[in-house]
Amino acid sequence: MDTPLIQTVLIPALQVLLVIAILPLGIAYLQLVERKVLGFMQVRLAPRRVGWHGLLQPIADAVKLLIKEDIVPDKADRFLFTLAPIVTVIPALAGLAVIPIAGAPFTLFGYTVRPFITDLNVAVLYLLAISSLGIYGIILGGWASNSKYSLLGALRSSAQMISYEVPLGFAIIGVLMLSGSASMVEIVNSQKTAHVWYILPQLVGFFCYFISAVAETNRVPFDLPEAEAELVAGFHTEYSGMKFAFFFLAEYTNMIVVSSIATILFFGGWLRPFPNAAGSAWLENGWLFFTPLILLGFVGWLVDQKAGTGLNGMFTGLAAGAVLGFLLGRFDVGGLASASVPVLSGAFWFSLKVSIFLFVYIWFRGTYPRYRYDQLMSLGWKWLIPLSVLNVLVTGIAMVLFG
């Protein structure tokens, strides 16, 4: 066999297939997590009938969406109507191609598998361009539905997304200036060499970025285009079944992509916290530390449910797991720490950070009301853009002065 061919074509193709296969399932469970977290914030029990504590709910939802009748409105443009969700989903998925989840490749059956699908040296630019393409799908969806509500929603949504692309880009420029490269892997490595995550010098940039990202993905408090209360469901009012599922898939994939970019650009990607603190080498195997923590905490929570002891069991479990994990890592019990595959630890830290961002997304949804459309636009144009431009200026000046 031609090894370079396998290396350069087959393995990335397999990675792509893996992503496309696993991602919808992951998105479905992300939806479950969202409903659960929202439920707990809203003093209610979120789905818990389908499967144990609702764990089969996403499967049920997926099956429902698949077997649902595919309704196309009478006067809708059939071709565009079917094309719109596809045009929305593909750029979202394509954005995942340049996201690296760990720092080092690992070998599998003698082949090197790198922790990303590809490493473009213009990855940031690629991502910005790809996310802009996703807007076409929304416009198409609203237009093709041939309904006033959908059209209004699509227009609003596209105007909002286009407006917030600008501060998004500007916020990223600060990081590009600091790292000197537009490649995702390079940016993380430069954070490693600089011994500081870019969140610290680029705090303003991060906030501009995150707020613009929430607006880009049409999430609360910027979700007016799909607000139930006003336009029923905005541009995807008329969609049902699998097409609707595609729109949702696109939205959640965008959330994941944006969160991943945030972690890579500002929070060190797969790097562990405190890389230089003495005695913190055990954190390198973060998974080794957190796995007992989460497992024992979960066991404690189960005991709580059965025994009705509030949350005491969970906290005890967490504490026990923390101690156990620390001991396992610090003293390299059973050789686990040194034998652990670096990619696993990198992937663990990366996933943890992305999960925190996703939680913040859900937290926003449970807390804030919605911005009105004109307030939304004025926030983007009058506040975020000047702020992000200012950030670039200040970064540039600081770099010249302090090197």
Binding site: L38, M41, Q42, V43, R44, K148, Y149, L152, V220, P221, D223, L224, A227, E228, A229, E230, V232, R365, G366, T367, Y368, P369, R370, Y371, R372, Y373, D374, Q375
Partner: protein
Amino acid sequence: MFRTEEMDINMGPQHPSTHGVLRLKLTLDGESITDMRPVIGYLHRGVEKLCEHRTFPMIEPLTDRLDYVAAISENLGYCGAVEKAMGVVVPPRAQYIRVILAELQRIASHLLWLGTHALDLGAMSVFFYTFRERELILDLFEAFCGARLTYNSMRIGGLLEDVPAGWLDRVRHFITIFPGREKEYEDLLTVNRIFVGRTKDVGVLAPQDAIALGVSGPSLRGSGVDYDVRRAQPYSSYEQFEFDVPLGRQGDTYDRYLVRMEEMRQSCRIIRQALDRLPEGEVRAKVPKYIKPPAGEVYHVVESPRGEQGFHIVTSGGEMPYRMRFRSPSFVNLQALPSMCKGQLVADVVAVIGSIDIVLGDVDR
């Protein structure tokens, strides 16, 4: 070459946030509203005609279903009107208990208003929190009269029975925990920039317009007009209670929100006074077995959570009224909606409808 057209859009009658079957015909110029025409009647059940064929006690369950969110105030007003027509004096204990029920109902209705208003604006969590408190109140009502929404709780001449054992303590417990819960909602909404931005200067109603359009209740008081039926035309011993009537300043949605939040606190205050000073005695005056008010007509108004609820009964000396007219506050307040929404954006319509707090059962009867 390019021209803009105004777009006609139809909101409702089936819509997640028009609070019932309300249809609004909007003419939009882009996002701003140039004309609005409410179309009602989707829930018209002909209650006034039905009342002409029912005896006076049989009408009371019908009044529950007018403003189904605040049914106690309907019961109270109706019984008060018939008692006025007959010249019956309700015993003081019954009057105080009626006040307690009415104020509990006011809190419950405002909680529902708050939850749905916040939900329309996007703050979903507040909806669940307010309903958590509303459940407590509905449990109290269920203990008192057996029903959670349509109570039929009062009788002409007083109440059917005295309160169940322990009920008064439960009410006291509720008003002890309620201010803390209300603080939760305030923390989430009152100082939230997004909420303030959505409600300040939205749906402004000038006081002269409000009076001319017949608006009543918190919508009127939000514009600064001091008219509360409990103060101006006291009924059911309200003159014996000390409470403040909150007034707004600008007449925008935010002021109406603040007025209702403060009203909930004042209701707690009234309930506390009523519990402290509850007189002993019987709970129903002596009324004849067949209620036959003498011929004539009366008009009795009460302050429902929505505004001035009026009951105009024309009696002919028989067992059934000759004409029964319900002056519903939501019907009249809805009339003010177009003038509040002119020039506003579509997204504001939802906020304004939420702030005038209409119930379609009340509008259409």
